[in-house]
């Protein structure tokens, strides 16, 4: 089991390295000159040359990539002589726009993204899985059909639409909630929750439908398994039959997609954060793309990829812990 975990982690590290290289290559091949971007519009050729030297852009691409990697794992310095700027571990460079370290920008915005992702995940899991289980148990009933139509609706509505409708209804019309803003959970829990409710609902609507449909399908499949018949033949109470012998196997695929979805969201919910104006990692990415802030884009990409890879590893490990057959194969 430990060996298995180590192997999965080694594989994850390799994948991250590949992503890193690919992202770096894309930015290197882009026509825009990073020095120009760093310096701004009105910039003298001397200044550009100086920036090129400081950022190490005169070196070969391999050297630049190596320096970038060293920066991430050990920190690095930019420039030489009097103009040395030190960038401590983990160094993802500095924003062209604000000159802030990219790593600090990311960590500053992470709590907002995590709040949105985790809250929405709890909501969609609760609603989606419950609806799916009930649908499977009352297959063909009015509830089943209504729930599945609603699920399809939730999946097909774009998030910027539901977000705007929610804001209009809950904030403008009913006045129940304030406009969302970044509120710290520890400083003001109520204000935090009030700001987060709408993004949670908007995101959960999108995902709950998918989860309800998958849960229903998996549940119907596991209900048809022979071991469910065995459980009934043993005389187990029906709730035990359903929970132990039908639901548990049905939840296995849910674990997989849940891990992936949550991992992707932790790296920033780009549209949701932008629509609600919440300063999370996704909003940072959107802003950086608009202003061609290359170090930030590179940083956000790697950061998000890191979460996805981490989620993948976690899913594999959780799966191995839950499924004895996977454990055996190792």
């Amino acid at each position: 089991m430990i060996l298995y975990a180590l192997r999965r982690l080694a594989a994850a590290a390799a994948i991250l390295l590949v992503i890193c290289a690919a992202t770096f290559a894309i930015f290197y091949l882009m026509p825009a000159d990073p020095a120009q971007g760093a310096c701004g519009k009105a910039c003298s050729p001397e200044r550009i040359a100086q920036i090129r030297a400081t950022l190490g852009l005169n070196h070969s691409v391999v050297t630049q990539f190596r320096d970038y990697l060293v920066g991430i794992v050990a920190g690095r310095t930019y420039g030489t002589g009097a103009q040395v700027v030190s960038c401590p571990f983990p160094c993802l460079g500095f924003s062209f726009q604000t000159n802030e370290p990219v790593w600090r920008m990311l960590t500053d915005r992470l709590p907002v993204s995590v709040s949105i992702a985790v809250g929405a995940a709890v909501l969609w899991l609760a609603v989606g899985v419950t609806a799916g289980v009930v649908s499977a148990l009352c297959r063909g009933s009015l509830w089943d059909r209504a729930a599945m139509v609603a699920a399809l609706g939730g999946v097909s509505l774009p998030i910027y639409f539901t977000a705007l409708v929610l804001q209009y209804l809950l904030v403008v019309k009913a006045g129940l909630l304030p406009y969302p803003q970044a509120v710290s959970l520890t400083a003001d829990p109520v204000g935090w929750a009030e700001s987060m409710v709408m993004p949670w609902i908007a995101l959960a609507m999108l995902y709950a439908g998918v989860y309800a449909r998958i849960t229903r399908g998996e549940m119907l499949e596991s209900l048809g398994q022979n071991y469910v018949r065995t459980a009934r033949a043993k005389g187990l109470p029906e709730p035990t039959v359903l929970r132990r012998h039908a639901l548990r196997p049905a939840l296995m695929p849910i674990v997989t997609i849940f891990g992936m979805d949550l991992g992707a969201l932790l790296g920033g919910a780009l549209i949701t954060e932008s629509v609600f104006g919440l300063p999370g990692v996704g909003k940072l990415a959107a802003d950086a793309i608009n202003s061609a802030d290359q170090p930030v884009i590179l940083g956000v990409t790697l950061f998000a990829a890191g979460f996805v890879v981490l989620a993948n590893v976690s899913v594999d490990l959780v799966y191995a812990a839950l499924d004895p057959r996977v454990r055996a194969v190792g």
Partner: protein, 282 residues
Amino acid sequence: MTLLTVRGLSVDFLSGVRAVDGLDLELAAGRVLGVVGESGSGKSVTSLAVMGLLPPDARVTGEVRFDGRELNGVGQRTLRGLRGNRIAMIFQDPLSCLNPYYPVGFQVAEAYRAHRRAGRRAAHRVAVRMLERVGIPEPERRARAYPHEFSGGMRQRVMIAMALCLEPDLLIADEPTTALDVTVQAQILDLLRDLRERSGTAIMLITHDMGVVAGLADDVVVMYGGRAVERGTVRDVFYRPRETYTKGLLACVPRVDGPLPVRLPTLRTPVTAAGEASEVTV
């Protein structure tokens, strides 16, 4: 004493298929009743009807009396109290019948705890004892193993341990050896013979294999198209069959002993109300 009486049992599915058509059966305590037939004869549907385990789209009519009590039409609560407790069942494919996510010891103990007030520990001890009784080596260690870590024969032993841990009056064995290799089948049949002698459990043995019935059953019912076409003691049915269908069924099995026919006789099927028997899968 009669343990199980089935009178005029019919099972209709919503699709319009009548899988069982006015069946009568009788099984005395401690006896072994062999129910033989080809696929679509309704033998498996009959066993599930007795257990009350048919899918909701099946309509069961007729009488199923177990130990003097009518079972058809009673609530799930009553049935649940009997299932696993006084009537247990084993199936054809032991791998798919065991839950892959739980150790086998847990699954045996689960059956015990469903009907007896027992703590986890006590139930586990019962499970280990049962696994030992059905011939699983190192039962203490193997109880913590998962179904995929067992061979086919060992899995069927686990199923038998699960079925017998509450010492039921009736064991319904639905094709218990069909998925197994012949040498393993011989082991399982030996085990069933042995358990029957020691515990006195009555067995309803459902199979397509005339050889399995010949070795284990006291009485035999031959089913075709949802009906019993012939019934009697095992010697009557095998040595003095009255129906041409039974004669044909006995003659068309290629045997490893005795004279060798150049061509196997083919079967003339009896005419039933429903005409051709349709295949039913449950």
